[in-house]
């Protein structure tokens, strides 16, 4: 690498006037230019808030020497008069890939996944590459630099945009004339992270967002451990990470949820990341604000969808249409919320869209001064380089733009972009605006020349009376060339260096016969300075946000109400009470009885209706952004709470089926899965708002075909048999036991997220919900648990539980099963719908669960099947989806039955709740109505109407010439246990 550096240095040394002082010179004499350049009479934005009219900017050797209204100009100055023009600091992009080649995508070998790292001497995970330095891969890209300067950028911070820990960036001035010694402002500028794996590496872990989150946490623990000198071997990744600690830390998050996720990691380890946002922060602006993070915000506002075909329009979700509608307001919302942010080109498909998107943000309310800050002072501050770049105060780099006027107005011309005192001409600022109508008299005839278009790029047409002639025109650096052929077929050629002082055009004329003479075209009319009237669509109206911001979201978050349900059939938990009233107050069940006094509570007549506790699903995979971390055979470190998706429409659909609480479980890709999230389906709350208060700690385990990877092509990961599954547990629990003992004895341990979690199980602080099928493995896990002196809390699925129900009862484990699923795998051959009834008969606490977004919304019906198959009593059947799962989840002190003092998580049914004919009319959580059948009718109409409204707005935008994108449906897959 050094070698290449040197070559470059040598190459450039020959060409440039900037050659370093102490370098020998063999191609001439040393000639130093210490002259000044003074830009006078300009409006100068020294900083976005410090603007002077009619000022002078004095630069020397690539730096600002002085700036102000009165600047004494040294004699050895070249003076540039910028009368009527403006000077701005040029832009900085903190998140760039300039000059750094992306690594090549690893080729899939088509064989089993790769579980181990392929590097040696580095971190155990190949996606952690803090040792990477962008400078080592950096190659100055003149073509791209020119493109960026054209957009107004002077400095970019570039990094290798690959991997989870990506290493350090390089800060580059876009100065074509300088060499690396000038251009590279910092060869180790900021350290970058992301949630995305390296495309160049095949190591499987992490396969999920929650895995990436856990990996970031473990990485910090490992770094600290290594920094204490506790590791005997050498880890160049951790060493680099330690060395990079002093750098600015930037996290490429990518959407509002990930911004919060990244910030949370930072909070845990005392790092305030600057965070690359997603452009959808407007949805959760309060939470975003609380992060206190400075954001790097893309302006890749989506194009309107092409919805001209109504059949195709059906595929575009309201959510995506709303984002189209609201994304351009994102910068404004950030500004109004006083959130510090810079803007970036990142995310734009074509960088040439930059100006139009920026203008769009401004037309949607972003102030011009904030826009300028977001492109100059703030990115400089993010990089800790405010003393060098981002403004035009003395001592800063002479990186600035010369424009014809307000930078953020349409039609303003960017003339020059100076970087480190070196001029790049974008448009010739001395070029005259020659637009207008001219009259040209030649050989007794009069021709009309009409010059129009952009002032810096005019076009011309020539007419003889009313006849339009064939003509060719160019105008550059004030040289005009015009050739035309008149009605008789005679061709004339005109050449002119336009005189700045005269209104007329004068120059040389070449006659059809080759004779040369001169011509004068007299200006008859100036161009109308107003821009041509163009039909512009009225600005699309920004529609209001809902909670959550998708179809069927509420205008405001549901609130607790005091309600008296009169005269209902109440399923309390253990009994069914006819003609009974239930009063709820402050989110709790306050009274259950006859003829209760409503007080100030709202009265709901529940005559002929059934009031029950909300349904609880012990095994669900809705409301998750990912389900399996399949990269290791044990992933106890990952947390479903890291990936809760509060916007999943299945939350609403579950509420409509009377479901109020679910256990969002990790999948069954590995024997030791991840930690559960027990959530309440509070539609409209943020992800954190869904988490059950004082959430009991659970973890998913799994047995059988999924963890053996029996049903797909994978043969390299241990275990491949049930025999191996046992050994995984024995191994991990033994290690956890030793870890815990060591820790408890006061010895220092490497903080291991996985061992911490497993130790919690051993200490009775965390409970296992284990995916299980056949009796042998069920028995096995109970024996392993007994060996390590703890109890398995729940077997979930547990399809052969009925064969060992006595053993389960003796162990004290509960069973959460499907009502009637079977025949989909070999291991469910003996799954029978009588399972629940048999287990219950032996004293096992039995729940019916879903593992399926469709079934979960009719769990009441699934519970009814326990009556059909095996003859459970109706009250016992009902408990399988309320009180029993509440018990299994250790939340029965708050939910699961209608009892005074418990939370008012209730459902009002229009029919017997175990009947297929029952519909949930109201679903309440903590006394707030989260689903209401009547309100749903209104929402159905509102969704239809809003879709139509947005479709019309998009059609409008298309008709007005805006570019569109094809219709498409962005849809999250529906998850099951084995979803990867």
């Amino acid at each position: 690498m050094k070698k290449r550096f040197l070559t470059y240095a040598l190459l450039w040394a020959c060409a440039t006037v900037f050659a370093q002082d102490y370098f020998p010179k063999n191609d001439g004499v040393k000639a130093k230019n210490n002259n000044y350049t003074a830009f006078t009479n300009a409006k100068i934005f020294i900083t976005p808030s410090n603007v002077i009219e009619n000022g002078t900017l004095l630069i020397q050797n690539g730096k600002v020497v002085q700036v102000g209204a009165t600047v004494s100009i040294p004699k050895n100055s070249v003076v540039e008069d910028l009368q009527g023009k403006s000077i701005y600091p040029s832009f900085i992009d903190v998140f760039s890939g300039f000059g750094v080649k992306m690594p090549e995508k690893a080729k899939s070998t088509g064989r089993s996944a790769q579980y181990d790292a392929e590097r040696e001497g580095f971190y155990w995970n190949d996606h952690i590459m803090p040792e990477n330095m962008a400078i080592a891969k950096f190659d100055y890209d003149e073509k791209k630099a020119k493109e960026l300067r054209k957009l107004g950028f002077g400095v970019v911070n570039s990094h290798i945009q690959d991997g989870i820990a990506r290493g350090s960036g390089v800060l580059v001035a876009l100065n074509d004339e300088g060499d690396a010694s000038q251009r590279i402002l910092d060869d180790k500028s900021a350290q970058y992270f992301s949630f995305k794996k390296s495309i160049a590496k095949r190591q499987s872990y992490p396969t999920s967002l929650m895995g990436a989150t856990s990996l970031m946490r473990q990485l910090h623990h490992d770094m600290n451990w290594y920094a204490q000198g506790k590791v005997e071997t050498k880890d160049r990744s951790l060493e680099a990470l330690i060395a990079n600690k002093g750098l600015k830390q930037i996290f490429a998050a990518g959407d509002n949820g990930n911004v919060l996720r990244a910030d949370k990691i930072g909070d845990q380890f005392g790092v305030q990341y600057t965070i690359l946002a997603g452009g959808d922060e407007y949805e959760h602006i309060e939470d975003i604000k609380k992060t206190n993070a400075t954001l790097i915000v893309p302006i890749n506002f989506p194009k309107a969808y092409d919805v001209s075909n109504p059949y195709q329009a059906a595929y575009v979700t309201l959510k995506d249409m709303r984002h189209w509608n609201l994304a351009p307001t994102n910068p404004k919302v950030l500004e109004q919320s006083n959130i510090n942010f810079s803007l970036t080109l990142h995310g734009l498909k074509s960088s040439s869209d930059f100006k139009s998107k920026l203008m769009k943000a401004i037309s949607h309310g972003l102030s011009k001064s904030k826009a300028l800050e977001a492109l100059t002072t703030i990115p400089a501050a993010i990089l800790g380089k405010s003393n060098e770049i981002g403004s035009l105060q003395p001592g800063r780099q002479a990186n600035f733009l010369i424009t014809s006027g307000d930078l953020f107005e349409k039609g303003t011309i960017l003339y020059e972009n100076w970087v480190q005192g070196v001029r790049s001409t974008i448009n010739d600022r001395n070029q005259k605006d020659i637009r207008g109508d001219y009259s040209l008299a030649l050989g007794g005839k009069t021709y009309q020349i009409s010059i129009s278009g952009e002032p810096n790029k005019p076009k011309a047409s020539v007419k003889q009376d009313t006849l339009k002639l064939v003509s060719k025109f160019s105008f550059k650096s004030n040289w005009l060339n015009l050739a035309f052929t008149d009605s008789k077929g005679d061709s004339y050629r005109l050449v002119s260096l336009v005189d700045a002082q005269s209104n007329n055009l004068k120059g040389k004329l070449i006659m059809p016969n080759g004779n040369e003479s001169s011509f004068t075209a007299t200006k008859t009319d100036s161009i109308d300075q107003k821009s041509p009237v163009k039909a512009t669509s009225p600005l699309s109206k920004a529609l209001p946000l809902t909670f959550p911001n998708v179809g069927f979201g509420y205008a405001s978050k549901p609130r607790q109400e005091d309600i008296l349900f009169k005269n209902a059939t109440v399923w309390t938990g253990e009994t069914i009470l006819e003609n009974t009233d239930v009063l709820i107050k402050d989110g709790k069940v306050s009274k259950v009885g006859k003829d209760l006094n409503p007080g100030r509570a709202k009265v709901i007549d529940a005559t002929g209706k059934h009031l029950t506790a909300g349904v609880i699903d012990e095994h669900s995979h809705i409301a998750g952004l990912s389900i399996n971390e399949a990269g290791h055979n044990s992933t106890a470190e990952v947390r479903m709470t890291d990936v809760v998706d509060a916007k999943d429409i299945d939350i609403y659909r579950n509420l409509a089926g009377g479901v109020t609480t679910i256990q969002l479980l990790h999948g069954s890709a590995n024997p030791i899965g991840g930690q559960s999230a027990i959530i309440r389906l509070k539609w409209g709350e943020s992800a954190d708002g869904l988490i059950f208060p004082d959430m009991p700690k659970f973890i998913k385990f799994a047995l059988g075909e999924n963890v053996k990877q029996s049903n797909w092509q994978s043969f390299s990961r241990f275990p491949q048999t049930r025999m191996g599954v046992e050994q995984i547990f024995v191994d991990y629990f033994q290690r956890a036991k030793e870890y815990d003992a060591k820790k408890k004895s006061g010895q220092a341990v490497r903080y291991d997220e996985e061992m911490e979690v497993l130790a919690e199980i051993l200490n009775g602080e965390r409970f296992i919900s284990c995916h299980s099928y056949v009796q042998s493995e069920i028995n096995m896990l109970m024996k392993v648990a007994e060996k390590f002196d703890f109890k398995v809390n729940t077997f979930t699925h547990i399809l052969e539980g009925y064969k060992v129900a006595d053993k389960m009862a003796a162990h004290g484990v509960g069973g959460s099963t499907f009502s009637d699923w079977w025949a989909y795998k070999y291991e469910v051959n003996d799954a029978i719908p009588y399972n629940a009834a048999i287990m219950a008969s032996q004293g096992v606490t039995v729940a019916i669960n879903s593992d399926d977004a469709e079934m979960s919304r009719r769990l009441n019906q699934e519970a009814a099947k326990t009556v059909k198959y095996g003859g459970m009593s109706e009250i016992e059947a009902w408990k399988t989806v309320t009180l029993n799962p509440a018990k299994l989840l250790h939340i029965d002190d708050r939910v699961g039955s209608v009892e005074v003092g418990k939370d008012a998580d209730l459902v009002l049914w229009n029919n017997h709740p175990l009947s297929v004919y029952a519909k949930a009319e109201k679903t309440l959580i903590e006394g707030a109505v989260y689903f209401d059948l009547e309100k749903d009718k209104m929402l159905q109409a509102a969704v239809k109407k809003e879709r139509s409204q947005l479709i019309n707005m998009m059609l409008n935008e298309k008709e007005n010439g805006a570019k569109t994108q094809g219709p498409k449906q962005n849809k999250k897959p529906k998850f099951h246990c084995d979803s990867l």
Binding site: G551, R653, A823, K825, D830, Y917, K971
Partner: protein
């Protein structure tokens, strides 16, 4: 000696754990059966209280009130309910036993336009999944090949048979065509979004089907001696002896499919799926096309759809005057025992119970073309029926005590009930 002992004990073990493959099929009806006092749900939208039903030699011979004289074996069904056997269209029951076990999978042959592929010869009459249909009242099914554009030819069977010949009640009844879709799933592994994208090949794929059918038709008219199996297999849909089942969901797909197929003179077209059928009701009526609509226990296809859309779609179509049946063709076969509850779900949306029942009995029989014998409780029709303790459309009360197929008194035991009894026996010390 030891080896032989091992083999024997292994065999015994296998038999005892796996059980016999299926309940022994019932013998032909020899004696008349009279069911008295039941509420008879006819399957044509009507109901008869305190009904006496007599069947002999496999056929219903009398349907009347308490005045009817009992004959042969008498079953007192006071307070109970009689239903015609439920019919499950579009299933691959008996073609696949365990989804994840490839060796047990015979439902999807390679090839794209393969009408000559016949389900019936692969139908496993002794499937444990098939027998599990019966305790819930599902007694008949249309055994259907899966996959490809034209998947093959189905046969309608009854669920209590020694072999596939015994099982068939309407051999080679129809051909199944998966109409191309205007949208397709994004190939996310190639960087496309995970949701749906416009299918750029739709017109091409449509033309491919139309061309194939035109050629099949031309072939039929030519009387050529050289046999083309796929073309030959299509002749039944042109001469009206077979139905053509067209699987389509979107408005455009439905309109395209029905117009093209009708143009080619196919008399019996059935729309299967029809997610957006409610948007083209007039069109379907004009073309006299019945709909086998998707089962209600499925999620809406679009996030912005009403939460209860799939629940209420059958009712919308029924209310509009279309001939409608329910199918769960896309679900796992074991789910088909829940067929009655799919119909029950529509009742919750306001459809009358007897009309909901038609969705899985009388209407389905008409749509499949077996109404002469099955689907309703009528004199002269097959005695394929069952007695339930309560309302059979509700899981809360669906409890079968007796069931008959063509008058044969079939077993309601299954592999599953046997395991239930065995383990309850173990725990209860029996």
């Amino acid at each position: 000696m030891k080896t032989i002992f091992n083999i024997i004990s292994t065999t015994v073990f296998l038999i005892s754990t796996l059980g016999f493959a299926q309940q022994t099929p019932a013998g032909a009806q020899t004696e008349a059966v009279t069911i008295q006092g039941a509420t008879a749900h006819i399957g044509d939208g009507t109901l008869r209280e305190n009904c006496t039903l007599v069947f002999e030699n496999g056929k219903i011979t009398t349907l009347g009130g308490p005045e009817v004289t009992a004959k042969g074996q008498v079953i007192d069904a006071s307070g109970k309910h009689i239903y015609p056997g439920f019919i499950a269209p579009g299933k691959s029951l008996g073609l696949i036993e365990v989804n994840a076990v490839r060796a047990s999978n015979d439902q999807d042959e390679i090839g794209n336009l393969i009408p000559h592929i016949r389900s019936i010869i692969a139908y496993n009459a002794e499937s444990k999944v098939v027998e599990s249909m019966r305790p819930n009242g599902v007694l008949l099914g249309q055994i259907t090949p899966k996959g490809g554009r034209i998947s093959g030819t189905s046969t309608i069977v009854q669920f209590d048979a020694w072999n596939w010949e015994d099982a068939a009640v309407k051999m080679d009844d129809g051909i199944h065509l998966n109409w191309p879709t205007t949208f397709r799933r994004g190939r996310w592994w190639l960087g496309e979004p995970r949701g749906f994208l416009p299918n750029k090949d739709y017109d091409k794929q449509k033309l491919e089907v139309v061309t194939f059918m035109q050629n099949a038709k031309a072939y039929g008219q030519s009387g050529t001696a050289e046999i083309n199996l796929p073309f030959a297999a299509m002749q039944g849909v042109f001469d009206g002896s077979q139905h053509l089942y067209v699987y389509a969901h979107g408005e455009k797909e439905i309109i395209d499919a029905i117009s093209q197929i009708k143009k080619m003179g196919v008399a019996n077209v059935v729309l299967v799926g029809g997610y957006h059928a409610h948007k083209v009701i007039d069109f379907l009526k004009e073309n006299d096309v019945p709909v086998l609509v998707n089962f209600t226990h499925s999620l809406p296809n679009f996030d912005d759809d009403d939460y209860d859309f799939t629940y209420k779609l059958p009712k919308i179509l029924v209310d509009a005057g279309l001939l409608v049946g329910l199918q769960n063709a896309s679900a796992s076969n074991f789910q088909t025992r829940n067929l009655p509850f799919y119909a029950g779900q529509v009742v919750a949306q306001g459809l009358e119970k007897e009309k909901a029942l038609q969705l899985i009995t009388g209407n389905t029989a008409k749509i499949l073309g077996i109404e002469a014998n099955y689907g309703t409780l009528e004199v002269g029709k097959s005695a394929t029926l069952f007695i339930s303790e309560g309302d059979a459309l509700d899981m809360r009360t669906n409890q079968l005590s007796r069931a008959f197929i063509d008058g044969r008194d079939i077993s309601l035991e299954t592999h599953q009930t046997e395991l239930w009894k065995r383990y309850m026996g173990k725990f209860e010390g029996k």
